[in-house]
């Protein structure tokens, strides 16, 4: 089994190295595919988290109508652990949208336990902030509104 994995890994590497006119983006993709495989994830999951959001969102301009609801939800459900500008139980959140993809943010809100168990980035965070982020009994719509709030935090 180990041998097979080794051979596969080597052939992937060789294939990647020998490819003709390989563009930078292709190299990046191959690297990601390899990473994803190691963690047992799809490339989409590696970039966008594991959970109910399984494809890229079609985000328009910031919808100011839902920002306020998102803020209230954040205050009620998240603020006991997350502040905007300081480390608290969890990391500061003002720059969240710069650090994570929108889909990743929603999956982390909606599926935190599996994220921490399986996703390399979430695992890293758990090592730094040793409290398991809980699912806070929110709907996908709630998470979408909170995402809009996070988007509004960056001018």
């Amino acid at each position: 089994m180990k041998k097979l994995f080794f051979i596969t890994a080597v052939s992937i590497l060789l294939f990647g190295a020998c490819g003709e006119n390989k563009s930078g983006a292709d190299v990046e993709t191959a690297k990601k595919e390899k990473m994803a495989k190691i963690f047992g994830l799809t490339v989409f999951e590696l970039d966008n988290g594991i959970g109910p959001i399984k494809e890229k969102l079609n985000l328009g301009p910031i919808d100011s109508k839902i920002v306020e609801t998102g803020r209230k939800l954040f205050d009620a459900k998240c603020s006991q652990c997350h502040k905007l500008d300081e480390r608290y139980t969890g990391p500061a959140q003002r720059d969240l949208i710069k650090r994570r993809s929108p889909e990743y943010i929603m999956n982390m809100i909606l599926n935190p336990v599996e994220m921490v168990a399986r996703h390399p980035e979430a695992k890293k965070m758990f090592a730094q902030y040793p409290t398991q982020m809980p699912f806070q009994n929110v709907t996908q719509d709630d998470a979408r509104m909170m995402l809009e709030y996070f988007r509004s935090l960056i001018k």
Partner: protein, 647 residues
């Protein structure tokens, strides 16, 4: 050579000893390798049945898994529980209110699952408080006590709470007769002044809300146990009674004189007609109904002052006595509703009455006398059969789904299996020791799940490692799927287990509540986010609106509290994740801790007595930083001008 001789003697002696030892233990230490696989529930997997056992003198209900016998929850019902704050927190205190004040304890005997069409439905569990007569209703979504109703005009509420097919009524009976209404009379005037009552508590089909519909005034005997009719006998309820001698002292001897006592058969549909005709008398009686408002996380007490009483003298056909030997205890109705089995503690046979023969005897007026307007039916006209040699001291009977009955025999410590209809004893198996009730899942309903019978034993003696003078009580699980009953497992129980109920896990587990939604929390002292956490002073009352979240309190530094203040900690757990309760305890509190479930608010009062710094902390391990979940309260002298501060 001497050595050899010694061995020559000692080896046979040891062998003989070993053989004798094995023989003497053949009853209670047989080969259980086969049994082990039947009760083994692998780590991480679930039991097949939930079993609810009365906590007896602990006043609570315990929840076990079957067949493993694993205890996984104790539900606070009639007794304060400092582990959770039940009966100590401001929100829960009213649950224990009665017309005698706030009562911190009771003796809980008979759990009974609510039913739909005579089959346990897993919505609620009822249980009686024997000492200060009450009936509790437990919600089986939250596994919390939802309601407690006091039964007025009652003493020793033993014969309860047994349900009719659709919980139209929960029935209850007085074990101890008393003057009704209460009055100051010589005890020796028992026969003249003492009466019993049979109570019918209506439940709301949607909410389960209990209300006392009516009581029936009955002669002053000891009404012991009950079961409602089902199937053909739906519309009737049956109550056993002893002390028809009406003794008021040394009942052990004086109430064991008569050859036969009674099972009282009550036609509650006739009672409804008499009530509609206005035959009930309104009598003033003070009693409480306490219920838990799950949205407010708050118990509310309601005081009632009237009850409707029916007197059998004014209501012919309401109630009949079935003569039953001899000081009967349990009264159990088979799944069809036709057979009424009454276990006589001192009887050598187990009488089984026939419901259809009873109806015929009533029609033929086959009476041998009457007591206070209640006709006594002729024994020979109502008896369907007698089980011969049912063990010594037969008490209770449960049923399987194959037409068999199982009777517990207290004195001979055994379960006796017999056939309905032929009354033939099929099998008997010892229990260790002194079995009281027994229980088959659904075994008192129209649909028994007849896989196991559980013996609820009064005495354990040598069955467990000794623990000083007080030994554990215990239950024993038997396999009843074959012709022969087979002992599978002993397991200890809390308090004294009286009756129990069990239901397939798949009916309950899917409904189990995980959290209380914080948005729906309407507690008057809720704190819905850390931004609202605060401390307020109102005269010498301090209200701390405290939140918990892994792993901190907000606020966690409080100053400006003074000696003589009454401090209310209103603790809201902001978590919305399953299995993340937080605890709250403060040094020197005279009451208890709080255990607060996700989305819940609970309040504990603290009266600081001395100046100084008082730490508080989370008592329920919540995260890797649980040890960091702490705070401080500064208490200043009563005259100080320390400013009220919090962070």
């Amino acid at each position: 050579m001497k050595k050899k001789n010694f061995l020559f003697v000692i080896v046979p002696v040891l062998l003989l000893g070993a053989i004798l030892y094995n023989c003497s233990n053949s009853n209670n230490a047989g080969n259980f390798s086969d049994a082990a696989s039947k009760v083994y529930v692998a780590p991480g997997t679930h039991d097949e049945f939930y079993a609810f056992m009365s906590g007896g003198f602990s006043g609570q209900v315990s929840v076990y898994g079957l067949p493993s016998g694993r205890l996984f929850r104790v539900i606070s019902v009639f007794s304060q529980n400092p582990e959770t704050g039940y009966g100590y927190s401001e929100e829960s205190k009213p649950m224990l209110n009665t017309s005698y004040g706030n009562i911190p304890w009771d003796d809980a005997h008979h759990p009974e699952l609510s039913q739909t069409d005579g089959i346990p439905d897993g919505r609620w569990l009822f249980i009686n408080g024997n000492n200060t007569p009450r009936i509790a209703r437990i919600d089986l979504k939250s596994f919390e006590t939802a309601e407690i109703i006091e039964i007025p005009n009652s003493a020793g509420n033993h014969g309860s709470p047994f349900v009719t097919e659709n919980n139209e009524y929960v029935v209850a009976a007085t074990r101890f007769s008393i003057p009704i209404p209460q009055k100051d009379v010589p005890i020796s005037s028992y026969k003249e002044n003492f009466k019993g009552t049979l109570s019918f508590i209506r439940t709301d089909p949607q909410t389960g809300k209990m209300s006392l519909a009516f009581q029936i005034l009955v002669p002053g005997f000891d009404y012991d146990l009950a079961h409602a009719g089902k199937g053909v006998s739906h519309g009737w309820a049956f109550f056993s009674c002893y002390n028809t001698e009406q003794a008021n002292t040394l009942l052990e001897i004086n109430a064991s004189q008569n050859d036969k006592d009674f099972v009282a058969a009550v036609n509650w549909k006739a009672a409804e007609k008499y009530l509609a005709q206005g035959k009930g008398k309104t009598v003033s009686s003070e009693y409480y109904r306490n219920y838990f408002d799950e949205e407010k996380h708050l118990a509310v007490s309601e005081k009632n002052s009237q009850v409707t009483i029916l007197d059998p003298k004014d209501c012919p056909g309401l109630i009949y006595y079935l003569p039953t030997p001899k000081s009967p205890h349990g009264v159990n109705i088979d799944p069809t509703g036709e057979y009424i089995v009454a276990g006589g503690k001192l009887s050598t046979v187990l009488p089984v009455h026939s419901f259809s023969k009873m109806l015929k005897a009533i029609e033929n007026k086959d009476f041998i006398g009457e007591v206070n307007g209640i006709p006594i039916l002729k024994y020979e006209s109502v008896i369907a059969g007698e089980v011969k040699d049912p063990g010594l001291g037969p008490l209770h009977t449960e049923f399987d789904n194959n037409g068999n009955a199982y009777t517990s025999a207290f004195l001979s410590s055994e379960i006796v299996k017999w056939k309905l209809g032929t009354w033939e004893v099929l099998d008997r198996i010892p229990t260790y020791y002194s079995i009281g009730h027994l229980m088959i899942p659904g075994g008192d309903s129209r649909k028994p799940w007849g896989k196991y019978v559980v013996a609820l034993n009064k005495i354990t003696k040598d069955r467990y490692l000794p623990t000083g003078p007080e030994l554990t009580q215990s239950a024993q699980l038997f396999d009843i799927t074959g012709d022969k009953m087979k002992l599978l497992l002993d397991f200890p129980t809390i308090g004294e287990p009286h009756y129990a109920q069990a239901i397939p896990a798949n009916i309950l587990e899917k409904n189990s509540k995980r959290i209380y939604e914080i948005e729906k929390n309407k507690n008057p002292f809720v704190t819905k986010s850390e931004k609202e956490a605060r401390v307020e002073r109102k005269g010498n009352e301090i209200h701390v609106y405290l939140t918990t979240s892994r792993s901190h309190f907000k606020p966690d530094n409080i100053e400006g509290i003074k000696v003589g203040d009454k401090v209310f900690f209103h603790v809201t757990n902001l978590e919305q994740d399953w299995d993340i309760p937080h605890g709250f305890a403060i040094k020197g509190a005279n009451n208890s801790e709080l255990l607060v479930m996700p989305g819940q608010t609970k309040t504990i009062v603290w009266n600081p007595q001395k100046e100084g710094i008082y730490p508080f902390y989370c008592t329920d391990f919540c995260s890797a930083l649980h040890q960091e979940m702490q705070g401080y309260v500064r208490v200043s002298s009563s005259g100080s001008n320390t400013k009220l501060l919090f962070n």
